[in-house]
Symmetry: C2
Subunit: 338 residues, 2 copies
Amino acid sequence: MINCKSNRQVCLASRPKGLPNPTNWNIISRQIPTIQSGEVLIKVRFISIDPAMRGWMNDRVSYIPPVQIGSVMRALTVGEIVESKNETFKVGDWVSGIDGVQNYAVSDGTQNAKIDLSIAPPQTYLGTLGIAGLTAYSGLLKVGRLRVNDAVLVSGAAGSVGAHVGQIAKIKGNHVVGIAGGSKKCRYLVDELGFDAAIDYKNEELSVSIAQHCPKGIDLFFDNVGGKTLNAGLSAINVGARVVICGAISQYNLTHSIEGPSNYLLLLLRRARMEGFIYFDYHKDWPNMIKELSNWHSSGKIIGKEDIVKGNVDIFPDILLRLFNGENHGKLIIELQN
Amino acid sequence: MINCKSNRQVCLASRPKGLPNPTNWNIISRQIPTIQSGEVLIKVRFISIDPAMRGWMNDRVSYIPPVQIGSVMRALTVGEIVESKNETFKVGDWVSGIDGVQNYAVSDGTQNAKIDLSIAPPQTYLGTLGIAGLTAYSGLLKVGRLRVNDAVLVSGAAGSVGAHVGQIAKIKGNHVVGIAGGSKKCRYLVDELGFDAAIDYKNEELSVSIAQHCPKGIDLFFDNVGGKTLNAGLSAINVGARVVICGAISQYNLTHSIEGPSNYLLLLLRRARMEGFIYFDYHKDWPNMIKELSNWHSSGKIIGKEDIVKGNVDIFPDILLRLFNGENHGKLIIELQN
């Protein structure tokens, strides 16, 4: 069953300043671990590459402890049970979890959930039926309290979360405008995902284009980007608008203090709300959320574009950087080949 | 009845860059106006001096139109009806309103409310029973959804709104820390208003003192100041915190772009909410709010310190500046002498 003689692991060697570089990683081979009573051995098959990873590398108290120096890099994963001393899981079960950038993980199963491959292929549980879909759903509907006929602006719209946000907002009957980098991504948003308009931040003046595509202002702004993008979105918010802070990918690798939104006083003038969230907080409602997301997925109402790179764990440091240079398009996943 | 032969008015002559200066004002004497059917003539007795006035002087769309060049400066007022052709009001009635920096105003009464001098003296309707109390009440209880045992931080705490916020939060059973400038104001907050602690921003390191006085973090931050103060407060927010944006007095007179809160991503990490408001939005509930405020006021649970300057309207340009140089202490009001 175990078809690989060692467990290759990507460990954090040092904390990055700015963009992560090769010296921040230590890639090592270890023996495949043995399991105790109550545990399972998981062969990791798919690794989710997420902007949040950059935050986990900092030595800063956050919603989750930082990855410790010398530890395996934290990652959301999908894998297969290859040994089990736990009655909940049997060999051959597929599970999602947070099993790290490595080939094998030992788990007591409490952080793993079985996934149903009859509904969708395994990697979809890292996309539409995983972090991307659940983040979009909880942020848009629970935090943002999306209504009907809202004018919705989404930044990072061609990213995995942003693309789900826009599609869910369309399903719910809203006017949706996305911000993305480059005409290819912008065409994709409009032509394939059904956004009403897309703004190419690399070639357009954000505030001008926002005013053009949201002539009545913005009711809900779902921000994945921060910096100038957040400021431009804030400049167009309506009275009672909701600004959902999901991330700030433009700011994660700065070596200086991040840029705060100088337009934040519009929250006062427009009596608006800016709120951050973490999708983990809504885990009690995941069964319902996944049910609705899988219905949309099955019926083709949501396209969960995946950007899958095949290889071994050694490619992780390079692939991670694709999130920050605008190279990836869709949910970035490593499919392990060994 | 009319004991002054002309109507002296402070009009906006030009829009300030930075702090208002004498060239921004044109003080003129006009004839006392005559009234038509349905109108009243109000003799203005008390003029409320508020930080919001600075925003009204800018040529920018806001929650209320800018004061036009040549127009009488907008101000909340309390005055006396000296002539009436309106059946709702009779000569001798006292009213609150938005009747401007002038001796006499003509009104159709729709923006005026009769005030009851058996409950409190007229100037209190600009303080505890007016903008200061109503702003504090609506911001703290309706926007901030104050709970019990919240750790509450208030900036601009010795200002009229801040002082009410702190006292209401204490009445409701919370731990309250105020930020103010100078040891005299800080002692006042603790010794006279019952704050649990006060931080002197002129002589203390904000983040250190916040950590000392709110060792378990902040659940509700009521910010009147903005800039570095907002950032310091954000750095200490707890999961689920509410940050109420009431104003940003440190930023109103900047000639460059205002300073955005570089710590805003803590809203994400702490799943917190930052929300702005305008107390006008809660006007439907004013009767209830004023009833509760006047009970607290009558029973001595709230002290509405007033900083009353007697004079004619000509002193307005100088008195306004006291809001921005930290000189005033309590609700700043001009009591007109002629």
